[in-house]
């Protein structure tokens, strides 16, 4: 209090622990950038090479469309991998999500196990799953589909479970009170309440699958990624650009389509 007016501190008082926390986070960020980010001079030389008369960009243009028929087929395979993997993943995510939901799981141990599986599937990157499944079923799109499926069980399982946890419990209690079965409650009250959230998650999963399926080919799990890798390995940068542009178009179409479906359904 000064001269009868209230003095309001400009900054909120923080504890020593909070200051130490802020310093540790800043130190982590600075040290990480210093040890891993590219040096400015190296970045400059790289950009110079990229735009040089015989650099990467010059070799990419004009895009080579001589093999567009094969690229189109591989692009279709990529889309099919994404759709198949996402569909299977979403289907299997539902039971895992139910078992991982507090109110719907039959037993705490089952819930813990389901949550563990979902966390495992989510935390391991899809490229690692792809390598795992290539060893299991061999090179090709089947490994890619399995990798996408497992990745989507982890992705959608978590969001489906969260949506079911947040669903209004009133209608569920009302059905439980009249003696409805667990399945009856899930299908009659939980799923209809979660439909908007399930739809949004499913469409994001499909978009993610389409983007991810291109990368899976880089390790041999089928799709357009194999051709992209080969094009780069053989210095066919103009063909690589064609693949990148077609992939971009595919992803854009899927994203626009899913946005449209979301706006209609939710």
């Amino acid at each position: 209090m000064a001269n009868g007016t209230v003095t309001i501190p400009r900054f909120e008082h923080r504890s020593i622990g909070e200051y130490i926390g802020i310093v540790v986070v800043l130190a982590l960020v600075v040290s990480s950038i210093a040890s891993t980010a590219p040096q400015l001079d190296a970045l400059g030389r790289g950009i110079e090479r990229l735009f040089a008369p015989s650099g990467l960009l010059a070799q990419m243009f004009p895009p080579d469309i001589s093999r567009i028929d094969r690229i189109s087929l591989k692009l279709l395979e990529t889309l099919q991998m994404a759709v198949a993997g996402a569909a299977l993943g979403l289907i299997f995510a539902v039971p895992f999500a139910i078992l991982a939901t507090d109110r719907l799981s039959p037993h705490p141990l089952v819930r813990a196990a389901a949550r563990g599986v979902i966390a495992l599937f989510r935390t391991i990157p899809d490229l690692v799953w792809a390598i795992f499944f290539i060893i299991m079923v061999g090179l090709g799109p089947a490994a890619g589909v399995l990798a996408i499926m497992v990745d989507k069980i982890g992705f959608a399982g978590r969001f489906f479970a969260e949506a079911m946890e947040e669903a209004d419990t009133g209608p569920q209690d009302a059905l439980r009170a009249i003696g409805a079965s667990r399945m009856g409650i899930i299908f009659s009250a939980v799923f209809p309440a979660c439909l908007p959230s399930f739809t949004a998650t499913s469409l994001f999963a499909l978009e993610k699958a389409v983007r991810g399926s291109a990368a899976l080919g880089l390790v041999g799990a089928g799709g357009i990624g194999v051709d992209l890798k080969v094009a780069f390995d053989l210095f066919n940068y103009d063909e690589a650009l064609t693949i990148i542009l077609m992939l971009f178009a595919l992803v854009m179409i899927v994203e626009q389509g899913s946005s449209w479906i979301r706006s209609k359904l939710i």
Partner: protein
């Protein structure tokens, strides 16, 4: 139109001959806090009983204990000829199927149609996908659900999403769902609480009328004294987890109820 419902209610039932509900020494505590303190009362078949008391007196807890949505700490509940507290999970489901509950909040599934919500009531006696949505339900179930909607005056709104209906209409859909259950006893936990006075009275009149029409026992919680006096045959007053009033409604007036509520404060 409502023949199946009445047929179910009118059949001779030994359990309905005398008292349909008998509660003795019922107690419930939450973390050492006593909410129900050794209740003893009976409810006769076909009688509308009003359960009154101030907020926190234990009315809703009692209602939930009756169908074991909350497990009582001690005591005995005999309802519809069954020892409720000793029922197995399967037996409890079968028992609950006979008890219609109308909640303060309608507890309908908002994104579904009125008809689908009413069809859900059949889950009391039928399971599987045909009881989940009106579009999958057998013709007989759809017809019965439509009949129930007709009885609450909403047959023309059958395919309308319930979240587009007014509060009073939603509560009427909830009553239709309860009728679809073909209950033998109805528990209503402040069905008029979240409604405007006119809609609240309409809902109470409808519920009371349907119960009388089908000869069903009704146990109803209401904070509105005029509703208690108009729509009940018997009054049970709860105070701090104990029954302190147990008397027939005829002969009870508003002044007596007002005194009862004043003593609660």
């Amino acid at each position: 139109m409502n023949a199946p419902l009445r047929a179910a209610a009118n059949k001779t039932d030994p359990a309905l001959a005398g008292s349909v509900l008998s509660v003795s020494q019922l107690a419930k505590s939450f973390d050492g806090r006593i909410v129900l303190n050794g209740l003893d009362f009976t409810v006769k078949a076909g009688v509308a009983t009003a359960l009154i008391g101030a907020n926190g007196s234990g009315k809703s807890t009692l209602m939930k204990c009756l169908i074991r949505l909350i497990e009582p700490s001690t005591g005995r509940i005999e309802m519809l000829g069954q020892d409720v507290l000793s029922l197995s999970p399967r037996g409890l489901r079968a028992f609950r199927a006979q008890v219609g509950v109308v909640w303060q909040k309608h507890n309908l599934v908002p994104r579904l149609s009125a008809l689908s919500n009413v069809v859900h009531g059949v889950q009391a006696r039928m399971s599987g996908p045909r009881a989940w949505f009106q579009s999958l339900a057998p013709d007989t179930v759809r017809a019965e659900a439509l009949d129930c909607l007709d009885r609450v005056g909403l047959a023309d709104r059958a395919l309308q999403r319930v979240d587009s209906l007014s509060g009073g209409q939603q509560q009427r859909v909830a009553i239709a769902r309860m009728l679809m259950q073909r209950p033998r006893i109805i528990l209503a936990d402040e069905p008029d609480a979240s409604l405007d006075p006119q809609s609240g009275e309409e809902v109470m009149r409808l519920l009371s009328g349907l119960a009388r029409q089908d000869g069903l026992t009704l146990i109803i919680i209401s904070h509105r004294m005029e509703h208690t006096l108009e729509f009940s045959d018997h009054i049970l007053g709860l105070q701090q987890g104990k029954i302190v009033m147990d008397r027939p409604t005829p002969g009870t007036d508003a002044a007596q109820l007002r005194r009862f509520f004043e003593h609660q404060e």
